[in-house]
């Protein structure tokens, strides 16, 4: 059987993912492949690598285009891909929050009639609101979420926050920390059967190199 195919997200988590994998004993330094190539097949690499759009990484794995993948928990929460979620990785750490303008208190926000919440994560937000018993209209945006309250598009937002700098710049505050988010190692449900030894081995090794972080 050939090498495992691993899907690595481009963007925010790409460098961190490559740095993490480079620490594995069987892996050469990966900074060389930091190219614009989307599929990397090299003899000295223990895997075939596919670079994917961050939101697509777990979909590649779900449909078996990759056996394993690295993906943000935020994407898993939104897409609910049918994949094995095997390991929490110490990369891409941030928090999913409900945030509102500094001028609006928490009580004012939750009492508001016809509440509007802007987000890039409509499925996740709908489930969260349902569980919390909050009735609101969701405004689905692709970017610049934090701009929605100042321009009057929404009363609050559900989004990822790492340092909080963007929130402060837009005069927003965290109303509720919904869930911590970080990178995850996921596996295709058929690959985990066929390659259970190799995947198990990789999980154990990753656990080892991340345990003292």
């Amino acid at each position: 059987m050939g090498k495992l195919t691993i899907s690595i997200p481009t963007g925010r988590m790409k460098e961190e993912s490559l740095a993490l994998l480079s620490r594995l004993p069987q892996c050469p330094p990966l900074d060389l492949i930091n190219s614009r190539q989307l599929v990397v097949e090299r003899e000295d690499l223990p895997w075939r690598i596919i670079f994917s759009h961050p939101k697509d990484s777990s979909t590649y794995v779900e449909f078996g285009a990759a056996d394993i993948g690295i993906v943000g928990k935020d994407i898993l929460l939104e897409r609910e891909n049918e994949v094995y979620e095997l390991l929490e990785l110490p990369i891409g750490k941030c928090t999913m929050v409900l945030a509102a303008p500094l001028s609006t208190s928490r009580e004012e926000l939750l009492k508001k009639e016809a509440l509007r919440i802007a987000t890039k994560y409509p499925n996740f937000t709908r489930r969260y609101l349902q569980e919390r018993g909050i009735t609101a209209n969701i405004v689905f945006l692709y970017g610049s979420i934090e701009l929605a309250p100042p321009i009057g598009l929404a009363d609050a937002i559900v989004d990822l926050v790492s340092t909080g700098k963007t929130l402060r710049e837009n005069r927003l505050q965290v109303v509720e920390e919904i869930t911590p988010v970080s990178g995850r190692l996921v596996a295709n449900s058929i690959s985990i059967k066929i390659h259970s030894q190799e995947i198990n081995f990789l999980v154990e090794e990753l656990k080892e190199v991340t345990s003292y972080v």
């Binding site: 449909f63 994949v83 979620e85 095997l86 390991l87 449900s189 059967k193 066929i194 259970s196």
Partner: protein
């Protein structure tokens, strides 16, 4: 004239492949002494309700009949067949070996998918429990997949697991009922990160076993290894021993080549009580065959009837089928003839059809023409000569 969302039309070449599979499988099941049954397409929703999980319930097509009762298109056959055989006189004349072929209906799991209607072919052994029956069913599942090899279903595998492993774990772990439910959900969602953070049991000696479940897969040795590596409780050891006995019977049948023991195998339907199994191919993300033992499906209606069975998903099998492009062509012969030859051409066509040559008659033209897919091969008026040419051509196409 729009196609209903989630539904799919099948054109001749596809239907042909499906019927070929059906033919091979029906033949096999009959050889093993199974007889065909045909439950109706709709059932009262209340019949199905108890056997389905929450997600499966949402995916059932439901509507109201003229008396205001909720009815459903069958989402699978097993419950219908259990209903058929729950009658007292049939329970008393057990065992019954039956098979079925037909459509099942489930709203697609996503609006982007086309899988509202699937063809299932499966069988049930009703009224008998015990390891020999389980082994018979697994051997038949393997024989079914092996029989499909000649139709291009290659590199399949069959994973065997046991519900007792998960149940044994649940009974051994000190958890409240809501925690047990939560644990079950996490396992179904395959979220091992959340499992690892399940702090109330993280110091339990069986916790490492739980976390390793997806990797505990292999041939017979995996059973001994697991017993040596983890402090298993008696119900777990019992389940493992059962799987070893099954393995030994399957290997006495010389069928173990494609079989793997998979201790982490969890099936979607909640009604399984013993051995469970799943056939799949590296070329598809969905199982090709699923089955297991479900002795308590009828227990709620106090007419217990032990049963074991499986179903094959024909569309998924076709997805992984390697199709020989030559065989895909359907072929028939078109004879074009002038009106005055109508009567003699009809006699000739009937003769050829009896020999298994598909003939299409087209009345027009002045000359007699013999065509195969628009290719003209003969022009003339001699009937005997046409017949000879057609037969010769047919033989050369056939070989």
């Amino acid at each position: 004239m729009e196609l209903v969302l989630g539904m799919k039309d099948s054109y001749p070449s596809e239907v042909k492949r499906k019927r070929e599979m059906e033919f091979v499988l029906r033949h096999l099941f009959e050889e093993w002494g199974y007889e065909e049954v045909e439950p109706p397409t709709i059932e009262y929703y209340s019949t199905l309700e108890n056997t389905l999980g929450d997600e499966a319930k949402e995916r059932v097509y439901k509507f109201v009949d003229r008396n205001g009762k909720l009815v459903s298109l069958r989402p699978e056959f097993t419950t219908s067949i259990m209903r058929m055989y729950s009658k007292k006189e049939l329970r008393e004349s057990a065992p019954h070996r039956v098979y079925y072929v037909g459509k099942i209906f489930r709203y697609p799991s996503s609006p982007l998918r086309v899988e509202g209607e699937l063809t299932q072919l499966g069988l049930e052994n009703l009224g008998k429990n015990g390891i020999d029956t389980d082994a018979e069913i697994i051997a038949l599942a393997l024989s079914a997949l092996l029989a499909l090899q000649e139709l291009g279903i290659e590199d399949f595998m069959l994973d065997i697991g046991h519900v007792g492993i998960f149940q044994g774990l649940l009974s051994s772990l000190p958890l409240s009922p809501p925690e047990k439910l939560f644990l079950k959900t996490l396992l179904k969602k395959k979220d091992f990160v959340a499992l690892e953070n399940f702090t109330s049991i993280s110091s339990h000696p069986l916790f490492p076993f739980l976390l390793h479940l997806p990797f505990l897969r292999g041939k017979r040795e995996i059973l001994e290894e697991t017993k040596n590596n983890y402090p298993l409780s008696p119900p777990l050891v019992e389940a493992l021993n059962y799987l070893r006995e099954i393995w030994d019977i399957i290997s006495d049948f010389h069928l173990e080549e494609h079989v793997f023991i998979n201790l982490g195998l969890v099936r979607d339907f909640d009604y399984y009580t013993g051995v469970v199994f799943e056939g799949f191919s590296p070329r598809s993300g969905y199982p090709l065959l699923t089955g297991g033992r479900y002795d308590e499906l009828l227990e709620k209606s106090e007419n217990s009837l032990p049963a074991c069975g499986f179903a094959l998903f024909l569309e998924r099998l076709m997805e992984v089928q390697r199709v020989n492009p030559k065989e895909k062509h359907s072929f028939f012969i078109t004879i074009t003839y002038p009106p005055f030859l109508r009567s003699s051409i009809f006699i000739l066509a009937e003769e050829l059809r009896k020999e298994g040559i598909p003939i299409i008659m087209e009345e027009k033209g002045e000359d007699i023409q013999v065509l195969q897919e628009k290719e003209l091969i003969y022009q003339g008026k001699d009937e005997e000569k046409i017949k000879t040419i057609i037969l010769e051509r047919f033989k050369s196409w056939e070989s």
